[in-house]
Symmetry: none
Subunit: 232 residues, 4 copies
DNA sequence: TATGAATGAGATTTCATTCAT
DNA sequence: CATGAATGAAATCTCATTCAT
């Protein structure tokens, strides 16, 4: 899954992040959430540069002075939003990681989770899309690719296990494969989160591909299974 | 291919677009290009919002007044850049469209062209990535998904032909398949254009996956062929 | 001496000043000093306007709320700092006032004391320099020129005594002379306290003029003696 | 003379300074002056930090945007003001440099010029006073002590010539002497420019010392002559 | 009394766009 | 046509001060 995925254990929690001042941790959780929600909405809707902290503060019902007592800068606020998203994503992926089953069963679950997560948190996903933009590379560098590294490791392990069990053709390169699989999942995720990618999905796969996520998932699993299973 | 693709004929050409004033067509082509190049560089490097058209004008060696005599607004300049990119992409894809061969041979060529195009025009590609962002959806809507529609149509035709020839399993949905295939190609393209996606590629598929595009292409083709060919 | 000088008796003491609330007198003296020290450091380093009382409070280890329970405003805190400085200066000058000797012996001592005081309390001196600034005239007016008045009176008396004793030429105006003498002492004091005036001293009198205060004092005394003694 | 003085040739001219953008040189001189005047007034009245560029722009009758098209920053505007002041001062001192006469005649002229310059340009002088403040040391460093270096060199030469002519006692150190003389002139200058130092002058030398500059000058010259002339 | 979260006016700076020359 | 000076709304961020706990 694009920005995170099959992780083994929660490695990241809001208390450990370094992007907000300690003041922020001392205010009521619902107020914290209200602020992050306002920020997510503004960042997702307008993009990092066009987003206005004043608007975020106003929508969150706090003063601009308070905003700056919680976050040292616009960048830090943005990073905190990213972090909170990572946490959510991690939790969403817990069920994939913790489930029993082989590569295919897990891939199926992962697609389902991705779709659901994208629909429920489409604004957060829109922010993920923007972070990959060149103009935000300085921010991307700050979060680095921690999540991706973790996800990739999981893919590598699952694929190797599947190979050992005769479930994946030996002549496919594990690493390249992990890249392709995550690409497929990530694009599904994007397609359920962003307006642009949703339209694109409809153009390619038809209008009801969006409205009937289950059957898109079925089709993707057919393609993947076909692509991986050894041929006689 | 993501942003454009197997097109049969040039449908789009700079003269037909509606995003620049007629004055722009009256200046020498090399001056036109200098302006577009400066715009591409600025938009790609800083993102739409952070880009400054004053800077673009300066780098292009023209006055800001002239800039506004060619383009009515920042938006229009951006749209013109997008259009010129589409033209380039179209030309790049000509060789895929015009070649003989079945689906697999064409997919192979398409991946190769995508990689090359991404490397040669990475700034343009970075702009493509940004356009899919929510904050730029009002611009994305303006160019709409004309290119994607065209590309999708080609995919659909090729896949159906391949099915008829017994080269693609009948139990795969044509439209869903076209979506997955373009996703795979698009992500490869992104990975060779943007810093962020390049790093991601390395995380998943290893450092030399980027330096050895040919073998990544080979791996992708193995996966696709496996995924599509009917099983005995 | 510029900002204070040959005073006979302590006229000014912290308890009498009007710039802090009574709560300030009730806290332990070392806490008082810690607060004033933090204020001196901040005001001296950044100047009145750029100084932040939030920073002062933090550095003093007290809350901003307490700060405002001790001092009604930034202005009052600043005035209190000035007052505490005056006290220090007064004590430093005690030894000049209380010593026996004629005008020349006292001037010599005064220069020595000024140099030492400037080096030991350079931050306080930097604040004195700033108070003379036009932007702070409303504050300067508040502390007025009490100290200067006192100092001037001493000068006048000493000079008149020296004239009576035949040690100073009768054709020099007492009041103008007191002004010139204090100017000379004050500039020496500034030159040992502020970065800017130190550099200026070096430019005029050479690098070791700063490192060898004793010989600068000797030279100044030669000049003064020459300038005041009656000619045959 | 404190911030400049007996210079031989104009070394500094507005066209050579580096603190404004070229745009500034292209606007009418009276507009340039209006802007500098507004800046001088604001900086002198409130001090560097408390001064507001918005206020300066408004008082100069230009937009804030124009302000920033002339000067890249508040700092640069300030530096430009300093430079224009240096130019004025230089011109004022031309008459001292160009005149015939020995050290004493020139010192007399210098005091007169300083007094006049201070009264005519008291706001500029107030800014000079502030630049020596510790909080503005980063600005002071930018202008360095060019002017002072030049002035000091002149003093050194004049004193040595006077010594050779038997007009100055040989047992006085040339460099230390130059420092003391400039201190005396500088303090007179300050006393006619700043509110604070004017009050101080009155406290020491009486109320009419300010209103009768000529006699203060006479007194100062008596003191200097006494202090320098060799004794029989 | 002590605390420190909250406030918001105001400061500096940027930049798309207009328009007189 | 070309130029680039002028504009001013709006953005980020600071900090003296208040006040509920």
């Amino acid at each position: 899954m694009s920005k995170a995925a099959i992780t083994t254990d929660s490695v990241y929690s809001m208390n450990e992040n370094e992007y907000h001042k300690t003041t922020f941790t001392r205010i009521p959780p619902d107020k914290q959430q209200r602020i992050l929600d306002a920020a997510i909405q503004e960042f997702a809707g307008k993009g990092y540069n066009a987003a206005s902290i004043n608007v975020i503060a106003r929508n969150a019902g706090i003063s601009i002075g308070s905003m700056y007592s919680y976050f040292a800068s616009k960048e830090d606020l943005f990073m905190s939003v990213m972090d909170s998203g990572h946490n959510l994503l991690e939790q969403a992926l817990k069920e994939v990681v913790d489930m029993p089953g082989d590569l295919y069963e897990r891939m199926d679950k992962m697609i389902e989770v991705s779709q659901r997560y994208a629909m429920e948190n489409h604004q957060l996903n829109q922010i993920y899309i923007e972070i990959s933009t060149e103009g935000l590379s300085h921010l991307a560098r700050r979060i680095s690719l921690k999540m991706e590294s973790m996800t990739a490791a999981i893919y590598h392990r699952l694929i190797d296990e599947a190979k050992a069990a005769g479930l994946v053709s030996m002549n496919l390169d594990t690493r390249a494969l992990s890249f392709f699989l995550d690409n497929l999942v990530m694009m599904v995720q994007f397609s359920y989160a962003s307006d642009y990618y949703r339209e694109r999905l409809k153009v390619y796969a038809g209008d009801n591909s969006y409205n009937d996520p289950a059957s898109l998932r079925t089709e993707l699993m057919k393609f993947i299974r076909n692509g991986l299973l050894p041929r006689a």
